[in-house]
Symmetry: C2
Subunit: 457 residues, 2 copies
């Protein structure tokens, strides 16, 4: 039994008031890592954690001959004993050890994390191969795992088919992103620079591949890594990050998209809170006190909605005329703040600001497209989506004007054969985690961050 | 309501014998793509599919004024009408249409798939942007999606934490694989060849990153794309393919690993059969008749188990002495055939054949490591795993002999601080799909295959 199962059992017992002493008298073996050590006369008190939950189990043992020097913070142990009611209210049970075996030693001088010290996220980030051994980063990884599960469940429960969109691609979806190029590294290819016969890149978005699938499925999604070769070292950007992208066929309204975004956000966040309450708590109480996630979760996201033009009106009150300009981070922040520091959907962006696939609203002279971004406090743009231009003639004209009609002839084919009105969006998964946990730096919500001048391990 | 929901409803009704006519008289709107068209006097019969299941819904309508030329195979339609009991036993309900609207036309002359023709997998592979519109490939994508769900569920139900291991890495896990190199493609980097300050590659395995996590979690897994720059165009290899990898702490026996491999295989396959029976059937009956998956599924995988030495004995009967040689595809086939054409675990490989991380059995003079491969009929190696060398001194010696001690000093750290006996394995997801569906060419079980001289879309 692991500690998570044990803590579930405890909760169940407390609820059912069935805390029969007898059931604790089976021998129980716990394998895990020492989180704290205390010795009192000849008794030893340990806290041991196995990674299945934030809670450690208290071990009590009488070992006059035990070499306490080996029982250090971070060492791996196997403890066998009997589970007993604990005298302390905070830990319903403890393990009365009959045997403690040190499986793997941990020299406290060399180990970068020290017992009872609360290391900052910046400090532990220096040790990508060891930081999962801290409480805070193991909590993060459990939250990340549960949030992943929750997102898959949301889509599965709502009839979406999961598509593994490719990492290596000959497309450049956004048209403007900084791309990574892929080449074989072996000497066999010195004279053959094009392994794929065409230039190949790391994907910046699975959208166009999802749109392929929108010609056969009503609802599809993908959840995987995407890449930007941005030479920036901000707290907001990574070279490799995870995106959730969905595409919905037979939709003609941004409402359908914002509803899915909102439902997914709420469903995932509720799941995380239900399955990792302690882990989320750790962040809210210790790492990011004052974080307002609960308020965010409790409002009806969809109720806050402004058009791009309204957002510009908000900005114009404090500054020059912005219409036609892209919203920069500081503008997004201003709009969110103006809306009561709550998530807000901004819709109907200028035609010239969005890529070729965004659906033309044909609302001259303003000329906007049916695009929507979800802005959230602290993080900025969390989701971006649009209806896609499904009308062959309009799309053809736009691609021809951009000189891309040949490159995207396959994409035009999707509109030639059984085209349907459709739309979709992408959510930055790390930004979502930052949003619910209140973590300031994106490097602290991904197991192995990659950014310019850093690719450790 | 989509067609999958409708077909579930039908099954439920049949089971409950509650097929009340009245419930069919609500107006029902179906949006999807035309799979067949037949006109009879002034009646039109259509089959329309929305991708949620293999089953199409029969539409019957009386439309004397309808322009039948637009209702072509592949066109997108929206049909509103009343669901009625069908006179045909194979289709419990049909839709009596009141309105048919052609949403997206499909010119049958240009559309590469023809009505009533059964196109081969090779033929449809030429159209990566359209092949999902065939029955067979949409079935494949549904199976792939369900198999993905099933694998995540298996791990979740068994206490594994999901880790998103990175795609870009500075490691070369296998030490011998053909790697893809990653470089920014923009002009900004002409003078700065190392975006990451170190050479960076596409991952060949998430194992070492999972091992990092094995120092804090009892059970972890990853499921994502991996890469090999192999310049081969066989039916068995892709440049980008998906791997499921798991790592289990506190295990000292290959039995623990083979049990997880077997349980995962059975659990995933049972889930797929329960959720995509029609789709799997399509493959077994039409695409790969005679496929033996059901037999594979019904045997206890674990019962078949030979050591590498026993496998060599089997091979030696028909050929020269192989001991110490790697098993080639033809050898694997021979061993599987010898074992009754059933899946077989081969264990305890020679030390010199396996990478540095495999755990030394210290069984001189034979000298093997605790490694295991799962071989399956038709596909060959489906899984490969090993116990990992957790003993610092042995690992240090081996890395020093290979001149890798500096490169992997971080990996040695994992053994310096709270090291535990552990092991893990990887499963090739595409090979798994080939195995259960009996598909010969790996390019036919992935949405967008990447291989040498091909990176379409």
């Amino acid at each position: 039994m692991n500690l998570y199962a044990l803590s579930c059992l405890r909760v169940k017992e407390q609820n059912l008031q069935m805390c029969a002493d007898s059931m604790y008298f089976d021998l129980f073996t716990l394998q895990g890592w020492v989180r704290s050590v205390r010795s009192q006369k000849k008794n030893v008190f340990l806290h041991v954690n196995d990674g299945s939950s934030l809670q450690s189990l208290q071990i009590v043992g009488f070992f006059p001959s035990l070499n306490l020097r080996l029982l250090t913070f971070g060492s791996a142990v196997e403890v066998t004993g009997v589970l007993k009611k604990s005298p302390h209210p905070k830990q319903p049970v403890e393990l009365e050890a009959e045997q403690i075996h040190v499986v793997g030693k941990c020299n406290p001088v060399d180990f970068p994390f020290k017992i009872k010290e609360r290391h900052s996220l910046e400090y532990i980030r220096q040790f990508p191969h060891l930081r999962c051994r801290t409480n805070v980063f193991s909590s993060l990884l459990r939250v990340r795992s549960q949030a992943t599960t929750a997102i898959h469940s949301y889509f599965k429960d709502n009839g979406f088919v999961q598509i593994h969109t490719p990492v290596i691609t000959s497309n450049d979806c956004e048209g403007a992103g900084e791309l990574f190029r892929v080449e074989p590294s072996g000497p066999a290819f010195v004279d053959d620079t094009n392994f794929f016969s065409v230039p190949a890149f790391l994907t910046v978005s699975g959208q166009l591949h999802l749109e392929v699938m929108s010609g056969s499925f009503s609802r599809v999604y993908t959840f995987g890594p995407t890449f930007r070769a941005e030479n920036s070292q901000t707290r907001r950007h990574l070279a490799e990050f995870f995106m959730v992208e969905a595409e919905i066929s037979f939709t003609q309204s941004l409402e359908d998209l914002t509803k899915v975004m909102e439902d997914m956000f709420r469903s995932a966040t509720e799941h995380v809170l239900a399955h990792c309450a302690e882990d989320v708590d750790l962040f809210h109480k210790r790492v990011t006190p004052g974080h307002r996630m609960f308020k965010v979760l409790n409002v009806k996201l969809l109720s806050l909605r402004v058009t791009y033009s309204e957002a510009i009106d908000i900005l114009n009150r404090s500054s020059e005329n912005f219409w036609g300009c892209d919203l920069m981070t500081e503008h997004e922040k201003y709009v969110v703040k103006h809306c009561g520091n709550l998530p807000v959907f901004v819709t109907e962006y200028p035609y010239d600001l969005k890529p070729f696939y965004a659906r033309d609203n044909q609302d001259h002279p303003k000329h906007t497209v049916a695009a929507v971004d979800l802005l959230v406090p602290g993080v900025g743009e969390l989701c971006g989506g649009s209806l896609r231009e499904e009308r062959l003639d309009l799309l053809q004209d736009r691609l021809q004007d951009a000189g891309l009609a040949d490159t995207y002839s396959w994409y035009l084919d999707l509109r030639r054969f059984g085209s349907v009105p459709h739309g979709g969006f992408g959510l930055g998964f790390e930004r979502y985690l930052q949003c619910i946990l209140g973590v300031d730096n994106i490097k602290d919500v991904i197991p192995f961050p990659r950014f310019s001048h850093s690719c450790l391990l």
